[in-house]
């Protein structure tokens, strides 16, 4: 479809750009103390974008001369991103960390970042892949360092920039090798060109795939590209940490799946048969090992943390590892499980971080100590945190269990050669139980009965309820999510 025709399908993105522009103008209008109101304009823009996604024709097309995909797969991830953004936007005005800053730009940056992620989940062109990742990265660098007066926030931004720049450099190198081998930037054409290469190109191809994987891996914090994660997550404002741990991660998985699927499999059939041609490298095993290392490192290091926020940072690495487990299978079930898991993960992980925000608002701390006896004083907070912690552990009847269940089911289905992966995966969730339970222990097992009970701000309470209910209900009745994922995957753009 040519550029002009494509515009008709580009409404959600237009709305986001418009939102950013309106927000910039409104920011000029508001006083410093009122600047949080920009957030409401952005919120309205996101609602409009979601409506636009909803009313768009449910077709499978490629836009802008095959450089952007328009399919249910992209729509799925866009909705996930909007959902995550929505919760963050609602909670942000109630975070004490941001109280001392003018927050207009904060919301504007979030809008731009979401725009970048929209492109990321639908990129079908090497240039688009690179540009969209850069848009997301650069806005997140600024957001991570948003607390100018806080040393750790500055540190986090700087680390993020260095790692981000380095890994996107690597990725760019990988992309250019791919371009050099095939002479085109369009993913579909690359695939057919790769099919005609002989084995003399194998080393270049392997190198290129590894470098590109490094770029994507950095976005979803796979070990060994994860080193930025704990420091950035710890230093960034907690709202941004929560956002980074969900939305860009989802977008990262989307681009990883789309890229590797479009370029390195033979289209149509979702099978593991043609996993990067015959480069002679055992890719599934390699990815499986990466996944095992990622989850194990995330879990083991999370055990030793004293800050809940940092613990959650490592736990999010572990969760990336769980999701990665289903990728090497390259089966329909594997992708299905990853997407389902992302939905469940969105609710539980955002919820856990928002509880941290509420605790920090109250105690000014985010260490385990700050949680001591909190279940007795703020029973509501304790209860929802219990739901999120058990959900993150993956215990029934919570959403996290269903997510893990589908992941493990996909792995087991792939056959006995992957059983070891499943066994390591489940044992890892036992390890994770220990540190999630530490939060529960601090909240309930320590401390005393309190006569006066307190609750977080009303809006925070509402958001927490909105997150806790799906985290519980999807553990018992998840058919709607399963159907949604199923439909999104059915019309996944495989080729033209």
């Amino acid at each position: 479809m040519d550029n002009y025709q494509s515009l008709a399908y580009f409404w959600p993105e237009f709305i986001l750009v418009g939102t950013a522009i309106v927000a910039i103008l409104m920011d000029l209008h508001y006083q410093r103390a009122q600047s949080y109101k920009v957030g409401y304009w952005v919120l309205a823009g996101f609602l409009l974008a979601q409506i636009a996604i909803f009313v768009q024709p449910h077709e499978t097309l490629t836009l802008f001369l095959d450089s952007v995909a328009f399919d249910p797969f992209g729509r799925f991830f866009k909705t996930v991103i909007i959902l995550a953004t929505f919760f963050i936007l609602v909670v942000s005005p109630y975070s004490n960390e941001l109280k001392n800053y003018r927050t207009g730009e904060y919301y504007i940056l979030i809008a731009i970042m979401a725009f970048g992620m929209f492109l990321m989940v639908s990129a079908l062109d090497l240039i688009m892949v690179y540009l969209s990742i850069e848009v997301v990265s650069i806005t997140s660098f600024v957001l991570a360092g948003y607390l100018r007066k806080d040393k750790r926030s500055n540190e986090s931004a700087l680390k993020y920039v260095i790692y981000g720049a380095f890994s996107s450099g690597l990725m760019l190198f990988g992309l250019s090798i791919l371009f050099g081998l095939t002479g085109t930037t369009k993913l579909f054409e690359i695939r057919s060109a790769l099919g005609q290469l002989d084995s003399s190109a194998n080393y270049a191809l392997i190198l290129s795939a590894i470098l590109i994987l490094a770029g994507f891996g950095y976005k979803i914090s796979i070990v060994p590209f994860h080193f930025w994660t704990p420091d950035v997550y710890e230093g960034a404002p907690t709202t941004i940490t929560a956002y980074l741990s969900v939305a860009p991660k989802a977008a990262g998985f989307a681009i990883l799946i789309r890229f590797f699927h479009t370029v390195f499999t033979d289209g149509g059939a979702l099978s593991a048969a043609n996993w990067i041609g015959d480069t002679g490298l055992p890719w599934p095993q390699l990815l499986a090992v990466l996944s095992v290392v990622t989850m194990t490192l995330g879990n083991v290091v999370a055990l030793q943390q004293t800050s809940v926020k940092r613990m959650l940072a490592y736990s999010s690495i572990a969760h990336a590892g769980y999701m990665l487990m289903a990728l090497p299978l390259l089966s329909g079930e594997g992708l299905y499980a990853i997407m389902l898991y992302l939905v469940m993960y969105l609710f539980m992980n955002l919820g856990a971080f928002i509880v941290v925000i509420a605790v920090k608002n109250k105690t000014g701390e985010e260490s385990f100590e700050a949680f001591r006896g909190l279940g007795w004083e703020m029973p509501f907070l304790g209860m929802v945190m219990m739901v999120f912690m058990f959900s993150l552990t993956g215990l029934p009847p919570t959403a996290g269990f269903i997510g893990k269940f589908y992941l493990f089911a996909a792995v087991i289905k792939a056959g006995p050669q992957f059983y070891w992966l499943a066994i390591i995966g489940v044992l890892n969730s036992v390890v994770s139980l220990y540190y999630y339970l530490r939060v529960m222990k601090m909240m309930f097992l320590e401390g005393e009965h309190k006569d006066v009970l307190t609750t977080p701000a009303t809006m925070v309470t509402v958001v927490l309820i909105c997150l806790a209910i799906p985290a519980l209900v999807f553990g018992i009745f998840w058919s709607p999510v399963a159907d949604w994922v199923n439909q999104s995957l059915m019309f996944f753009t495989q080729g033209m």
Partner: protein, 517 residues
């Protein structure tokens, strides 16, 4: 209601839990009454179920089925047979009595009883689920309230005990999850337990994973999960700690019901779905039973903490049940088709599960009684209490005698049946296990002597005797022990047909086949 009696049994405690959630936390008396009424109703339902239970068939009864997640073939399916009925009776009974045992709880009453009722649903759900996914959900749902009940209301080391319990059980259950999924994908994509029992033996026959028979792999994964719950040596180390640190009522539930889940799981799942592996594993099972018997008894003998002694006696008692379960192979042609022995052993094992439920519950309640008064449980720290607390001494005597397997009390019959069943096949093991009976008598009698005879400890000259509420919790259990000890027939009739079904099923797939690869 008639047709949905099992659903009511499962969900009634949840109704009570929701009700408790809406009661203001100051009204602790109301909360306790709601909890008691809920479990009381559940007990009444269980008795109704028992009265309507058809003892002439070994199959599932009172089946309920509904679609849950059709895309994954997950169903909501409940059913009861002779294997689960004793447990379905025991669970509400002990829950009901445990509510009265925990009447003195002061700390966070609302939370305690709400969690207790959630635990109740989890437990009875495990025994009634006929869908493997549902079974797993209930199996895991139990862990959460148990963690908090031990961790918040337990003794000095409660936090360590709670997390140890949780981690141990979770390791077992996640391995079980892998096994469940492996069964699902190799046996025609179903979680239906009944269907899997029919199809799994055929579907897994000859399947090799890395050169090992798939049957063995799945057996081992499931076995670890269940063995941790039983607990079978050497996976038992969580038990003494958890039982000792838990509040009395929770120790009652742990010993009375949770341990039985492991045995129930082995009989229902392992014996049902992997009958061929029974023949491969049964020798190990008998040896593990022997180790449990001897090790549990020796450890109990060494304890000075009364509760710890009782906890180790549980390990010992579970050993007898394992021996009884191993006896099932006596029905095979290679062991002379001795169906009588197999029947005695398997019935003995199920009977032992029930009896240990009542006896251990009694023992833990009685330990709680003395602990509430003296605030310690050191066996050597008492003395001469028989004069001071005559009624208590009498009840403890009944419980201890039941525990050591005195003829005339129910424990004797079930242990005897286990021995009789296992003897034809595992002669040496059975002979060695009888040593356990001797050791049992030694530690129970020795403890009794130290606590109740001799000179009265001056500190305890004002100790009040057991009160009405506590007697109310113990006497029903003591009566059951006495009746079943003299006249076990009604109980054995209840399980007879199902036992035959299990024996036939296991025999069908073994005895003639060669060793598994």
């Amino acid at each position: 209601m008639e047709t949905h009696i099992l659903s009511w049994l499962v969900w009634l405690p949840i109704v009570g839990m929701v009700a408790i959630a809406f009661i203001p936390r100051e009204k602790s008396e109301v909360i306790k009454i709601v909890a008691a009424v809920t479990t009381g109703l559940q007990l009444w339902l269980a008795v109704m179920l028992w009265l309507r239970f058809d003892t002439t068939t070994g199959g599932m009864q009172f089946m309920e089925q509904a679609e849950w997640i059709p895309t994954f073939n997950i169903a909501y399916k409940l059913g009861v047979d002779g294997l689960s009925l004793p447990m379905v009776l025991l669970t509400p009974l002990l829950s009901f009595l445990a509510i009265f045992v925990s009447w003195n709880i002061k700390k966070a009453v609302k939370g305690y009883f709400a969690l207790f009722l959630l635990l109740d649903t989890g437990m009875i759900g495990v025994f009634l689920s006929m869908d493997f996914f549902l079974f797993y959900v209930f199996w895991e749902v139990m862990l959460l309230p148990m963690y908090f009940l031990i961790g918040m209301w337990g003794g000095p080391q409660r936090e360590y005990a709670a997390i140890k319990f949780f981690l141990f059980t979770l390791v077992g259950s996640v391995l079980m999850l892998i096994a469940i999924l492996a069964l699902y994908f190799t046996c025609g994509r179903t979680f239906d337990i009944q269907l899997l029992i029919q199809t799994a033996p055929e579907a897994l026959d000859g399947v090799l994973w890395w050169g090992i028979s798939a049957i063995k792999v799945i057996w081992v994964l499931l076995f670890i999960g269940f063995a941790i719950k039983v607990p079978i040596f050497p996976l038992h180390t969580w038990l003494p700690l958890a039982h000792v640190e838990a509040p009395t009522a929770i120790s009652v539930i742990l010993a009375g019901i949770l341990l039985k889940m492991g045995l129930y799981g082995l009989l229902r799942i392992n014996y049902g779905m992997l009958p061929e592996a029974v023949w491969w594993f049964v020798g190990t099972l008998a040896v593990l039973g022997l180790i449990n018997v001897i090790w549990g008894a020796l450890c109990a003998l060494a304890q000075t903490d009364l509760k710890k002694m009782v906890a180790y006696s549980s390990i010992n008692h579970m050993g007898y049940a394992l021996l009884g379960m191993a006896a099932v192979v006596a029905a095979g042609s290679i062991h002379g088709t001795n169906i009588g022995a197999a029947q005695a052993g398997l019935s003995g094992a199920i009977f032992q599960m029930f009896n240990h439920g009542t006896i251990a519950a009694m023992l833990f309640i009685l330990v709680g009684v003395i602990y509430d008064r003296a605030h310690h449980r050191d066996i050597n720290g008492f003395g001469g209490l028989a004069k001071q607390m005559p009624v208590y001494a009498g009840v403890v005597a009944v419980a201890f005698f039941a525990g050591l397997g005195l003829p005339g009390l129910s424990g004797f019959i079930s242990e005897f049946m286990c021995f009789v069943g296992a003897f034809p096949v595992f002669r040496l093991i059975v002979i060695l296990s009888t040593l356990g009976i001797l050791l049992n008598a030694a530690y129970f009698l020795w403890a009794y002597q130290r606590i109740f005879f001799g000179k009265l400890n001056e500190k305890y000259k004002d100790l009040p005797d057991i009160n009405g509420r506590e007697l109310f919790a113990v006497v029903p259990l003591a009566v059951i022990t006495l009746i079943l000890g003299v006249y076990p027939r009604p109980f054995l009739d209840l399980i007879k047909e199902t036992v035959i079904v299990i024996i036939n099923h296991v025999t069908l797939y073994g005895g003639s086949i060669g060793p598994l690869p």
